[in-house]
């Protein structure tokens, strides 16, 4: 009774001592005097949470059952630590540069900050760790009962042990909440916790060494005698199965890297990469010492204790049976230390993962767009952490109550190892292979996790618990090759080796295959390069585009997550950095990409990379939130560029139209000017003959003595002028008729030559113009046409007369070229004069247009009439500006269309 009370007292005192150590360490760290807290010795000792109660008690039991096999659990980590230059160096570097908070965060960060992956790894970790926590609680309870047993106080012990696990669980949860969530350190480092663990590491090593020394030199007669006893014992021969030896070594190495608690102390709590250098030899040394006396203790226990006693508790029961109560209590404390340190760190690591990857994303989703304005994020994170810690520890307790204890301790440990080892392919692939993709990681993890559950985890509960006996014996759905412990029909393998082999093999194959087949997102590729090349460069993850972020808002948010003073310090430092060391006090840093990136890293230390990114993104705004969104923006930009191109084309077209309109307007204006000019011209034209007619008719009327010659002369002047007037009016009338489409065409057959002959002779009759040589090719002209030859002749006469009138060459020549094909005839009139000025070319076909008024003979209606006639005849007349002289081209069909003659008025300008 007394011993039991002493035990409870010592236990409580030890717990209080741990609280005190953690408290002192926290205070020292807060005052900046914590350098010694972060020495490589403390780092090495903190790694010792690898050695849990399973190691402390279980290794001896393991040795008593299966001989030397237990040592593989230490050999794996030894090789990993000694090979730090290969792997751990890179892992720690990545963890530090990327501000990784947990193994789930690492995997998520590597694969494009995928929260889905983080959630997957978190679930895996919770499933794998919960039995382990239960195991620790069980070991404390068992050791307590062992004490009671040896003192024959079963009744007492039964009462106590009912509540032992619960008390221990509550105490551990309290400790973890107190020191694990005191503040949200940007580096996620917990000085108090680490210091307490280091102390516990010393305690458990000392306890085990004390028992070992007692056994070797107290009970046995020194080293030689002990070795002789070992050889004589039932485990005195080498009986280790080769497959298990290799598999367990590998498995323990994998677990050493992947267990959440190991990752926490090794990577997250690491404050200086140089500590690895010391730990590379010191931690293997620690493991060596931890395992040194395991076999002697086991052999001595087998020799001295009754066969019914639990070999898992030899470390405790051996001193008890020898009456060494003080040593037994020390040993108990050692086991207690192992259990508590494991639970504390595991709960801390798991709570970080659960709160960062499950609780916070959910909370953020529920509070979209209010990261900096609603509630206290820092408070939320802390509460989430605390609840997670309590939840994880409670889950372990629940598992312990449900399972009822009793299973061999080592079995659960190895199952948990195998579960967490499923992360190994993804972790290795992520660190060394840039081609690893998110989808591949997801697929690999799913396959590995599923197989582990199917072949190892579920069967471990015993037949019929979660897995019906029929499934175990006949396979899933009756498929024999799906038997959980003989996949693909390969029987007779040790279940653990079987499960590890198949789950990791298929996990890795799936991971690699899917990675090869899939294409990573840009962010994944960026992160992949960062991780794989971590040792070559210390570059930054990905840059924020500068701009819209509001520093004040960021400050508010950072304060809530980092804490007011820490955030202020960070912002002050950043301002100083930006200003080159002479910043005004109170000045906030500009939201440069550089600054945003550092802020994001700082935040990711508290809430995880994905959450931090999302939070900064909410404040910075949509312009540069994620590469995916950036790509969306780029798409939009591309669309906008396309749209603007279209706009540009449209505007070009518009400006072309405007140009045309302007030209048309100019033409109209000039036409109007032309018309005005002609109106005055026509007035003049009409007035001149009218004036002379009036004047001479007045002379004839009023003068009495007009001679006959004079009378003759005057009346012929009047007549000539009247003819001229009539001709002018005829022209006008002709044009008007043609324009209104009221002309009647006199269509008949004839040859082109006739028309040209008539025209040439008619045009030659004028007297005042100089003669012109007409060059023709009669062969070409003998074409029979069906058209109105009077009208066509009118056109030809006009063209020839014009050439006579306007050709300014010394020897005026007019060349008439005729070409024809099936469709029509083309007659060119080319003179050798100086042609028509380019500014007049547009106007020559207009009414009343005259190229050179000073030489005008007619009213300027000729070409206009010609055009109207040609249109009536189904052809056209045009001016070709290509040659030196004036070049008119008349085209007309072989047969003039009948209908055109009677058509409605053609609209002309």
């Amino acid at each position: 009774m007394q011993t039991l009370n002493v035990l409870i007292f010592v236990c409580t005192a030890y717990a209080l001592f741990l609280f005190f150590v953690a408290f002192v360490a926290e205070r020292a760290a807060m005052r900046g005097r914590g350098k010694w807290l972060r020495s490589s010795v403390v780092y090495t000792l903190s790694l010792s949470i690898y050695c849990t109660a399973w190691t402390f008690y279980g290794a001896v039991g393991y040795a008593a059952r299966s001989g030397f096999e237990y040592v593989t659990i230490y050999l794996g980590p030894t090789l990993v630590m000694i090979g730090w230059w290969w792997l751990l160096r890179k892992l720690v570097r990545v963890g530090r540069t990327q501000r990784i908070t947990s193994i789930a965060d690492l995997v998520s960060s590597r694969f494009g900050k995928s929260n889905l992956l983080a959630v997957g790894v978190t679930i895996l970790a919770v499933v794998g760790t919960t039995p382990y926590i239960a195991l620790q609680l069980q070991s404390v309870t068992l050791s307590f009962e062992a004490f009671a047993d040896s003192l024959n106080q079963q009744g007492e012990a039964a009462n106590v042990s009912e509540s032992t696990a619960l008390w221990v669980a509550m105490g551990l949860a309290l400790f973890t909440v107190l020191f694990g969530t005191r503040n949200l350190d940007a580096n996620e480092r917990h000085h108090g916790v680490v210091m307490a663990i280091a102390v516990e590491a010393v305690v458990k090593l000392m306890a085990l060494l004390a028992v070992g020394i007692f056994v070797v030199w107290g009970l046995s007669g020194g080293v030689g005698d002990t070795l002789a006893r070992i050889d004589a014992s039932e485990i005195g021969k080498w009986q280790v199965d080769g497959g298990r030896w290799a598999t367990l070594t590998f498995l323990s190495a994998a677990a050493f890297l992947c267990l959440p608690r190991m990752f926490q102390v090794m990577v997250v709590e690491n404050s200086d990469e140089q500590h690895l250098r010391t730990a590379s030899w010191a931690f293997p040394g620690y493991l060596l010492l931890m395992s040194l006396f395991v076999v002697p203790i086991a052999v001595m226990g087998l020799e001295r204790l009754p066969a019914s006693s639990n070999p898992d508790l030899f470390v405790l029961t051996l001193p008890l049976s020898e009456g060494q109560n003080a040593l037994a209590i020390f040993s108990f404390i050692g086991g207690f230390s192992s259990a508590t340190s494991m639970v504390i760190v595991a709960a801390l690591a798991l709570s970080t993962m659960v709160s960062n990857h499950i609780v916070m994303p959910l909370w953020l989703r529920a509070n979209v767009g209010r990261a900096s304005f609603s509630g206290d994020v820092r408070h939320v994170v802390l509460v989430a952490r605390r609840v997670s810690i309590a939840g994880v520890v409670f889950l372990g307790y629940l598992y312990y109550r449900m399972s009822g204890g009793g299973t061999a301790l080592a079995a659960i440990g190895l199952i948990a190892f195998a579960g967490m080892a499923q992360v190994l392919p993804v972790l290795m692939g992520g660190l060394f292979w840039r081609g690893a993709t998110r989808v591949g990681a997801l697929a690999g993890l799913t396959v590995g996790f599923g197989l582990w559950g199917y072949t190892l985890f579920l069967p471990s509960f015993g037949e019929g618990a979660f897995m019906p006996r029929t499934v175990l014996e006949n396979g899933l759905l009756g498929f024999a090759w799906l038997r959980p412990q003989a996949l693909f029909g390969i029987e007779g393998i040790d279940p653990l080796i079987h499960a590890v082999f198949w789950s990791l093999l298929l996990n890795a194959i799936t991971f690699v295959t899917v990675s090869l087949a899939s294409f990573p997102s840009p962010l994944e590729r960026l992160q992949g390069a960062q991780f794989v090349n971590a040792l070559q460069q210390t570059g930054s993850a990905r840059s924020w585009s500068a701009g819209t972020a509001q520093t004040e808002d960021l400050m508010v948010m950072a304060q809530r997550i980092l804490g007011a003073s820490e955030a202020l310090q960070f912002f002050r430092r950043e301002a100083a950095r930006q200003a080159g060391g002479n910043a005004r006090p109170g000045k906030l840093p500009d939201p440069t990409p550089d600054f945003l990136q550092r802020l994001e890293r700082e935040l990711s230390g508290s809430v995880g990379a994905a959450t931090a990114h999302a939070m900064v993104a909410q404040i910075v705004g949509g312009a540069s939130v994620s590469v995916r969104e950036l790509l969306a923006v780029a798409d939009e930009t591309a669309q906008m560029i396309e749209y603007s191109d279209r706009l540009k084309a449209q505007s070009l077209e518009l400006s072309r139209t405007a140009e045309q309109l302007r030209a048309a307007n100019e033409k109209l204006t000039s036409l109007s000017v032309q018309k005005d000019a002609f109106l005055s011209q026509i007035s003049h034209e009409l007035r001149t003959p009218m004036t002379s007619i009036r004047a001479f008719s007045e002379i004839l009327r009023d003068t009495a003595d007009v001679s006959r010659e004079e009378k003759q002369k005057y009346s012929s002047i009047i007549h000539d002028e009247s003819v001229r007037l009539t001709r002018l009016l005829d022209d006008l009338l002709d044009l008007s008729v043609l324009e209104n489409g009221q002309v009647n065409l006199n269509l008949r057959d004839g040859t082109l030559r006739e028309a040209l002959d008539k025209a040439a002779s008619a045009a030659a009759t004028g007297d005042e113009s100089p003669a012109i040589t007409i060059l023709r090719d009669p062969e070409q002209e003998s074409i029979t046409l069906h058209t109105d030859f009077d009208r066509l002749g009118q056109v030809f006469i006009n063209l020839i007369a014009n050439a006579r009138k306007y050709c300014d060459a010394e020897q005026p020549e007019l060349t008439v070229l005729v070409e024809h094909n099936d469709l029509g005839v083309q007659v060119d009139f080319i003179d050798n004069g100086s042609g028509i000025p380019s500014d007049a070319q547009d106007l020559i076909f207009e009414k009343f247009a005259r190229v050179s008024p000073q030489r005008a003979g007619g009213a300027g209606l000729g070409l206009s009439i010609c055009r109207q006639i040609m249109e009536r005849l189904g052809g056209s007349i045009g001016f070709l500006p290509d040659t030196r002289g004036a070049h008119f081209r008349v085209t007309l069909p072989m047969v003039a269309p009948e209908h055109l003659a009677e058509s409605k008025p053609l609209v002309t300008n």
Binding site: G67, F68, V71, L75, T78, L79, V80, M81, I82, G83, W84, W85, W86, R96, L227, A228, I230, D231, S233, I235, G236, K237, W238, Q239, V240, D241, G242, W245, A246, T249, E273, R277, T278, S280, W281, P284, G285, L288, L292, V295, L535, Q536, Q537, T538, F570, R573, R577, R598, R601, E602
Partner: protein
């Protein structure tokens, strides 16, 4: 002519440093091989190797590995000036 004594010295130092890094990489490999050597041992309750021999062998290898790692950890104590790629490593201190 090419390479003053000083430069020679630096190169030699770098060379040694790299070889020590090689040794650090090599150590776990040899450790693995030595730890897997027991796979060849005869086993069984009758003709298995004596447990004491096994213990002595494993712990001897273990101690040798720890000692090797200890020596190497001092030999590559200086910051590796050059990485494998030959690119100078940026300063490791974090300034944020």
């Amino acid at each position: 002519m090419n390479g003053s004594p000083r430069k020679m010295f630096v190169e030699r130092q770098t060379y040694r440093k790299r070889r020590m890094q090689d040794a650090a990489r090599f150590l776990p490999v040899i450790g693995l091989v030595l730890f897997l050597l027991p796979l060849f041992w005869p086993r069984g309750p009758e003709d298995g190797i004596a447990m004491s021999v096994a213990i002595e062998y494993i712990f001897a290898v273990w101690i040798a590995l720890v000692a090797g790692a200890l020596v190497l950890s001092f030999l590559i104590k200086e910051e590796p000036a050059l990485e494998d790629g030959g690119a100078p490593e940026p300063p490791r201190g974090r300034n944020d």
